[in-house]
């Protein structure tokens, strides 16, 4: 079953096209990543899914329910953790969660509220006013609010932005559990290592368009080869090797450090030979497999030059 169907969604703000005909299907039970640089349209897309904004063109369905024409059923199936750290200063944590349950038509939800608070380490803050909580704690409450009605589809819009390691671990443990139990999870994050660790499938957005949509493994396969990181004690990188450079940390005061993209381990010897010929002395060297960040940078770079591919 399709959890979220996004069909040719377009959205403009005063002439600026934030979404340019985005189409996506996210299947039930998937852990799906929605990635892209700032201004790519991720939050606009999530707001459209959540019914917080209405698309100019196209439609979005949650479990088959249109978010505009059948919004009640669509929203019952959806829990959204907004990106902004918002809270109602009049209420305690428990009051906030009880009210949120009520908005979804659920009475006497304390057993589940207690379980959510336990899983998010909020139990000892249950009767504390929202104003008195730290940023990280407020973020936990936002997550809890999105889960009070046990939605089959959970959307997390940068849930770990600016929060500590402890919350990240607590959050991912709980969200992974919910995903294993069958909940669909859609995640946007700037922490690509999180997306790589959690997501089964990823869509990358750039300037309001989907520029990549693939499984995580498929994406990782897309960038063949690895990174050879060399730290030069003496000399500089010969001109002939410059085209291979992906990250240049030259001039950081710690010597010359370069990341070179290679397609096969056999190329290492050739690179070292070129370095020796040029008089450069290698101080340190390491091999690194391409990760999501490399793919992200490559796809975003390609998208910039019009070479992006679905």
């Amino acid at each position: 079953m399709t959890a979220i169907q996004i069909n040719s969604v377009e959205k403009s703000y005063k002439g600026f096209k934030a979404l340019k005909g985005v189409s996506l299907n996210i299947e039930q039970g998937e852990f799906f990543g929605l990635l892209g640089p700032n201004g790519a349209g991720k939050t606009t897309l999530i707001s459209t899914i959540a019914g917080l904004i209405r698309p100019d063109v196209g439609s979005v369905k949650i479990h088959g329910h249109d978010v505009v024409t059948d919004f009640r059923n669509a929203r019952k199936n959806l829990g959204v953790v907004p990106q902004e750290l918002v809270f109602d200063p009049f209420f305690t944590v428990r009051e906030t969660l009880r009210l949120q349950s009520g908005y979804y038509g659920i009475k006497n939800n304390d057993a589940w509220i207690d379980e959510i608070m336990h899983n998010l380490d909020l139990t000892n803050k249950a009767d504390v006013n929202m104003r008195a909580l730290s940023g990280g704690m407020k973020r936990r409450v936002l997550v809890a609010q999105a889960l009070v009605h046990k939605p089959p589809v959970i959307v997390l819009d940068e849930p770990t932005a600016g929060v500590d390691v402890e919350l990240r671990q607590t959050l991912w443990k709980f969200i992974s559990r919910l995903n294993r139990e069958g909940h669909t999870v859609v995640l946007t994050t700037h922490y690509l290592e999180e997306a790589e660790a959690m997501c089964q499938r990823v869509a990358m957005l750039k300037l309001g368009e989907v520029v990549a949509l693939d499984s995580m493994q498929g994406l990782l396969r897309r960038v063949s080869g690895s990174q050879l990181i060399v730290h030069l004690k003496e000399g500089t990188l010969p001109e002939g090797l410059r085209p291979l450079v992906s990250h240049d940390e030259h001039g950081n005061g710690k010597g010359n450090r370069y990341s070179l993209r290679i397609n096969a381990p056999g190329e290492v010897e050739a690179i070292l030979a070129r370095l020796r010929e040029s008089g450069a002395v290698v101080d340190e060297m390491q091999m690194q497999q391409a990760d999501l960040e490399d793919i992200f940078l490559q796809i975003m770079g390609d998208a910039k030059t019009g070479k992006g591919a679905l």
Binding site: I53, R54, R72, R75, E84, D88, P89, G102, Y103, K107
Partner: protein
């Protein structure tokens, strides 16, 4: 459409809880303000003005002050709640759940009515000691108090949706609600005005709310309470239609 759904009841309860938690500001302060009006205007004008035969000025003033408090506080409740939620961003907690436009409007308006009536009852309880008041037609008192509060609660929803900043809301309150209330006969009968201003007063819907409410106390009013009821009901229907359409289309809320 289920008006007594859990969603509606929860939002209504939340709005009640919101003003109750700051009762000093939302209930006690307006009662004190009305009390000051009574002491000052009552003291200055008592014995100099007789609006209705056999009715002292203070007795005439009290229903006007009660109704003014009902109206202003009903407006303040829904408008301030919405603008605060919009500016702090927590309105998203109302917009994400499956609450219908009707549930949202009714919850905000119902809580506004409750706050208006609580403040009105408080003003009456304090000011009633200063004059002898009769209850010629108590049903009119209830009808106009509830309807007036509902109208201002609805107007508060519209203003809260429309305003992007607190000063826009303050302008709405200071340049529209306040003058319309003061010029609606809280402190005087429109029969004491020159002909032109009497005619202008008839275009002010607040005048009919206060006049009909006052009729409930004295059995006497500038206009027939039935006429006032008809005009006030039409005004309410128009405002409710505007508010529900703003909510349905997500004007300034879902953009």
């Amino acid at each position: 459409m289920n008006f007594v759904s859990v969603g509606f009841r929860t939002l209504f309860y939340k709005e009640m809880l919101r003003f109750w938690k700051v009762a000093t500001q939302t209930i006690a302060a307006p009662i004190l303000t009305a009390m000051l009006y009574l002491l000052i205007f009552g003291h200055v004008l008592e014995g100099r003005v007789e609006v209705y035969p056999g009715v002292s000025y203070t007795a005439f003033l009290i229903p006007g002050l009660v109704m003014m408090s009902v109206l202003q506080n009903a407006f303040a409740n829904s408008s301030s709640s919405l603008i605060q939620s919009k500016i702090t961003g927590n309105l998203v907690f109302i917009l994400l759940p499956p609450l219908s436009h009707w549930e949202i409007l009714l919850a905000y308006v119902s809580a506004s009515v409750v706050r208006g009536l609580v403040v009105g009852a408080g003003v009456f309880a304090i000011t009633a000691w200063f004059a002898h008041l009769s209850f010629a037609a108590p049903l009119w008192i209830i009808v106009f108090a509830v309807l007036g509060a509902a109208i201002l609660g609805t107007l508060g929803v519209i203003a809260g949706i429309w305003a992007d900043k607190f000063d826009q809301l303050a302008a709405f309150q200071n340049f529209l609600i306040m003058p319309a209330t003061f010029l609606a006969g809280v402190f005087y009968s429109i029969h004491s005005l020159p002909g032109f201003w009497q005619a202008v007063s008839h275009f002010n819907p607040f005048f009919y709310m206060i006049d009909g409410f006052r009729h409930g106390f004295f059995g006497d009013s500038d206009i027939s309470p039935w006429t006032s009821l008809a005009i006030v009901s039409v005004f309410f229907a128009v405002l409710a239609a505007v508010a529900i359409n703003l909510l349905r289309h997500g004007y300034k809320l879902r953009n």
